[in-house]
């Protein structure tokens, strides 16, 4: 085992706000270093420093690769040494094929022309290692978010890699995909690659990491072997206090007053023929957390978006709200009906990243923030500030653009935006993706507080412990249909997975019906 990366007292600040305050990190070959820390601790920033995103003059301190001091001017310099990063946010081109995306930065050229054949062949080989079910010619926009994430990983390992940095790679992957990723990681490890693995999912950290580095407020708090620290200590280091029970007590029995009831819901996208949601019926009660589980691509997001009136979907079926038939033909109708939807992909359709934090929080409730038709945000400053402190959003000023926040804090802004509308039905699509343990705990407590206030919360999540730990009832979706409903003691990982998987008959897959 030889040392690959070593940083010495790295400092980095963004216009007066310091993100890194002298972190030290060491990475050896053939090991997986788990990098943990709260949202905004500076994990991504540190990784960006080491992968050349921030050139030499934009930070202070030094780091070396295999004993040589590094002075990167750009990402290219880092890649030349074999330091490859998979960023927290996807950086792909929706209109290109998988193969073109994988080789976008290192196209092989044959007699002056793009060698499409060879990139497709190479891509397919990598995709096979990753064990995905699409091929190199697929257009990227046809993939699920999980599939796209796998393409990011394929892109990274298609290069000559010595250090692989994975910044929350699994936040949109299914369990199966995660296992495949781990398999690939172990293989890289055997070949002497050093890996840095950032995640908020402690179970995964348990499975894959050899060493742990915990960061808080831009500093290293703990570094050592994984085996020498237990879960409790780990969390305590991360958040600076003890959290004993991640999932707050489930509220006992709902009062069975139906708030939302959906009958025979069908939805397909205008752009394709396939039904995304098929004959789906369910009810949600006042003061309960209803979970929607299922594999990636089972149609959970389609269900929520179509119920919310998103313009890409053609739908049929009925929605009853407090026993009254209503229509959500478009999102503004849905908002007026008391619905709210926190989307799965905040960069794509959840937030305006360039706009300020306060403008984002206010955006869905503007009609209610007026006096005589004129906007009077200053009157509502207090409500916005209350939400910011209720959700413990870590920021230096609400006037700064959302994009300056760490991933987890952006997610909280997205939730705050919808709480601002005082909804009665709250749809949450992967609400805790990329959120640290402390913040998860806060969001769970918040959800409980909301259902105590009589809200009806519907959560689509691929985080099984979350669905099991938080929800009163769970609907399991499979290929757009309701595969079953689990309640009370039946609500377990095992039962959910059993329902979620497609019963296979021989090698006949019922995929594309």
């Amino acid at each position: 085992m030889s040392i690959l990366l070593k940083t010495k007292k790295i400092f980095k600040s963004f216009g007066g706000i310091s993100a890194l305050r002298g972190v030290d990190l060491e990475l050896y070959s053939s090991e997986v270093l788990g990098l943990l820390g709260e949202n905004g601790a500076g994990k991504s920033t540190l990784m960006k420093v080491m992968s050349g995103v921030y050139p030499k003059d934009e930070f202070e301190g030094e780091f070396s690769f295999q004993g040589q001091n590094c002075h990167f001017k750009s990402v290219k310099d880092a890649e030349a040494l074999g330091i490859i990063i998979v960023h927290q946010e996807l950086n792909l081109f929706q209109e290109l094929t998988v193969a073109e995306n994988i080789f976008i930065s290192h196209f092989p050229i044959k007699s002056g022309m793009l060698d499409v054949k060879s990139i497709e062949k190479k891509s397919n080989a990598i995709l096979k290692i990753l064990g995905v079910d699409f091929d190199a010619q697929t257009k990227l926009s046809d993939l699920t978010t999980g599939g796209q994430q796998m393409v990011e990983i394929a892109k990274a390992i298609s290069k000559d890699v010595k250090v692989l940095i994975l910044d929350e790679p699994t936040s949109s992957l299914s369990n199966l995909e995660i296992q495949k990723l781990f398999w690939v990681m172990r293989d890289l490890k055997k070949r002497g690659v050093g890996l840095i693995y950032i995640s908020h999912k402690l179970d995964e950290v348990d499975q894959i990491c050899d060493k742990i580095l915990i960061m808080r407020d831009g500093q290293s708090i703990y570094a050592g072997e994984k085996s020498s620290i237990n879960r409790q200590e780990l969390i305590a280091h991360m958040v600076g206090r003890n959290i004993n029970d991640l999932y707050p007590l489930k509220r006992k029995k709902r009062n069975p007053q139906t708030v939302l009831s959906v009958k025979n819901w069908n939805a397909y996208k205008f752009s394709e023929k396939r039904l995304r949601v098929k004959d789906f019926s369910f009810s949600a009660y006042k003061g309960e957390v209803l979970g929607i589980a299922g594999l990636m691509g089972a149609g959970r997001t389609d269900l929520l978006l179509s119920l919310f009136g998103h313009h890409n979907y053609k739908t049929s079926g009925d929605i009853f709200f407090n026993e009254k038939k209503i229509e959500n033909k478009n999102p503004w109708q849905a908002v007026n009906n008391g619905f709210a939807l926190v989307t799965e992909d905040r960069k794509k359709n959840g937030l305006h990243l360039d706009f300020s934090i306060e403008d984002n929080i206010a955006l869905a409730s503007l009609p209610h923030l007026t006096v005589k038709g004129c906007l009077t945000l200053s009157h509502y400053q207090n409500r916005i500030l209350n939400l910011i402190s209720k959700l413990k959003i870590k920021l230096s000023s609400p006037e700064l653009p959302v994009k300056t926040l760490s991933g987890g804090n952006q997610q909280k802004v997205a939730i705050a935006k919808w709480l601002m509308t005082s909804p009665q039905v709250l749809f949450l699509d992967e609400p805790t993706r990329g959120i640290d343990v402390g913040a998860k705990f806060e969001i769970y407590s918040l959800i409980n507080q909301l259902i105590d206030e009589g809200l009806c919360v519907v959560i689509a999540s691929s985080d099984l412990p979350e669905v099991v730990g938080l929800c009163n009832r769970v609907l399991v979706m499979r290929e757009g249909q309701l595969a079953g409903m689990l309640e009370g003691a039946e609500n377990s990982d095992h039962n959910i997975m059993n329902l979620a998987f497609v019963p296979t008959q021989g090698n006949h897959h019922e995929k594309n019906i």
């Binding site: 007066g16 478009n330 503004w332 989307t343 794509k348 305006h352 990243l353 955006l363 503007l366 906007l375």
Partner: protein, 375 residues
């Protein structure tokens, strides 16, 4: 943290002042004569109007290439109403009706643009390009390819007239008092240590100069031009819509991220249609003003006006991809372009050369703006 001087925000204004100084020297002071400055503001006002409308459209992530043709078409309609319908003999009422008619024509074309763009989901570039050709053709048909003149005296007065010196002085005094009050409030903020001294001083000086120059010109010449009053009114209305109404936020939101805007419960189509309507209204109004100023309606009158408007908006710092920008920036941009034109006229530069130079200046202006932005 104290606010420091926002160079990015004021860079175009500073560039404009530098241009003023260069022209003042090159023309040995002729440029700064009140009469010339007043004429300059008359020349600028129509492009500035169009730039304000274009800002709305570009903020939503769109573009409108048809405004030159709308200007021509509405101008021709005005000419027809004044000359052929005889509204020219009806004095003030006739002028008012012609003006209204021009605005209606603009609104109609804007509405059609908006509806086509939202319902057929065809890119604004294509729709408004088509509309540019259609409305241009209609202007030629309606006018039989020839200019129409003359307008009535009252109508001519709309764009050529002045508010008499008395009321002008009163109005300028009132605005000065308001500005001083604004400076005073800024000063209080400054004392609360929210801004640095240099930031406070530079902002105060820059704003003062931008007020003093036109006020000096108007008060020592013929008073405030009516066209400038109309422009000010439209600018105030635009600022009100953009910053005081939810619609304003929606315009930014649609341009910033259309999908997220849709899912925030914003009626994206409505917002876009309103933006093109506003643009149409302004183009119609500009058509009337141009006809009034030239005392003649020509079917080719609005040629290339859309390009000047787009250039003004972009020089003013509004992003062509939508979601960020400002009305005041576009005003400064329009003033910049107008000043370049005026200065080159004064210097007696051949008009064909003027085009080439102007093109270069636009490129340099936008380039340096994007440099300061991404630094």
């Amino acid at each position: 943290m104290k606010k420091t001087f926002d160079f990015k925000k004021f860079s175009t204004l500073i560039a404009l002042f530098i241009l003023f100084i260069i022209l003042a020297i090159a023309t040995k002071g002729d440029f700064l004569i009140p009469r010339n400055l007043t004429n300059l503001s008359l020349q600028i006002s129509i492009n500035a109007l169009c730039a304000v409308g274009m800002t709305f459209v570009i903020l939503t992530g769109g573009i409108d290439l048809s405004i030159g043709s709308i200007v021509a078409l509405s101008g021709i309609i005005v000419g027809l109403s004044q000359v052929n319908l005889g509204w020219g003999e009806w004095g003030g009422l006739g002028s008012f009706m012609s003006l209204l008619l021009a605005i209606l024509v603009g609104l109609l074309v804007g509405l059609i643009n908006g509806l086509l763009i939202t319902f057929f989901k065809i890119p604004p570039f294509v729709i408004t390009l088509g509309m540019m050709v259609i409305a241009g053709g209609l202007a030629l048909i309606a006018s039989n390819s020839s200019a129409i003149s003359p307008m009535s005296d009252t109508f001519k007065n709309i764009a050529k007239g002045f508010l008499p010196l008395g009321p002008s002085s009163f109005l300028m005094l009132a605005i000065s008092v308001l500005t001083l009050y604004f400076f005073y409030k800024k000063f209080l903020q400054h004392k609360e240590k929210k801004t640095t001294t240099s930031a406070y001083l530079s902002e105060t000086v820059l704003i003062s100069i931008s007020i003093i120059i036109p006020f000096y010109a108007y008060s020592s010449d013929r008073g405030i031009p009516i066209a400038v009053l109309i422009l000010s009114f439209v600018v105030l209305a635009a600022l009100f819509i953009l910053h005081k109404l939810p619609l304003g936020r929606y315009i930014f939101a649609v341009g910033g991220n259309e999908e997220a805007a849709h899912l925030s419960g914003i009626n994206v189509n409505k917002v876009k249609i309103l933006a093109y309507l506003f643009m149409g209204l302004i183009a119609g109004l500009s058509g009337a003003l141009l006809t009034s100023r030239l005392n003649s309606a020509a079917p080719t009158a609005g040629a290339l006006m859309e390009l000047d408007a787009i250039a003004a908006v972009v020089i003013g710092g509004t992003s062509l991809s939508g979601g960020s920008g400002s009305i005041v920036g576009s005003l400064i941009g329009a003033t910049f372009i107008g000043t370049v034109n005026n200065g080159m006229d004064l210097l007696g530069i051949d008009s064909n050369f003027q085009m080439v130079i102007k093109g270069f200046i636009i490129i340099v202006a936008v380039w340096s703006d994007s440099r300061t932005k991404y630094k």
